[in-house]
Subunit: 108 residues, 2 copies
Amino acid sequence: MERIAKTPQPPYYAVIFTSQRTNGDHGYAKMANEMIKLASQQEGFLGIESARDSEVGITVSYWDSLESINKWKNHSAHKIAQERGKAEWYQSFSLRICKVERDDLFEK
Amino acid sequence: MERIAKTPQPPYYAVIFTSQRTNGDHGYAKMANEMIKLASQQEGFLGIESARDSEVGITVSYWDSLESINKWKNHSAHKIAQERGKAEWYQSFSLRICKVERDDLFEK
């Protein structure tokens, strides 16, 4: 998967998920990979970018519409992951739904 | 600095900067810290979140308006950093300007 998402012309939507983990894995890495794979199969999915260091992780997923974001939010397997996330994996997180108005790509 | 930004009620704006570095530091770490410090002193700055792993970095800065984003883009010291970024530090990057429409914070 591309680490910098190749998205279409704006407008489109972004979900910015910033998180601080609890200690230990508790099945997180496996579920995180499954959720990225599953998200990428959903209608309206445009791409995903993710980086994690020792303190914080940021995952940005891109979507064609708020409707597609809402469907993914309510996907049954994703809802199970969300519950485990709150119970086990995350100390804190923020979730922001955004409309991308302009973008620019630089490549050497 | 808080690793998860405490932002006001939406709407506000986000700049999502996703990058892949060139090899070596070349003064990057020092300049990156200076730019975060300088950005946080600008009018309309609301917060910043950043994560970098071995392949990719994502920095999201939050602003009260497109005007504040544009002023920061054109800040003289920031423009010098942008030029060095293209010449020395980044293999590729994407920059997205977004309007944050909804957000949610979870804390244990």
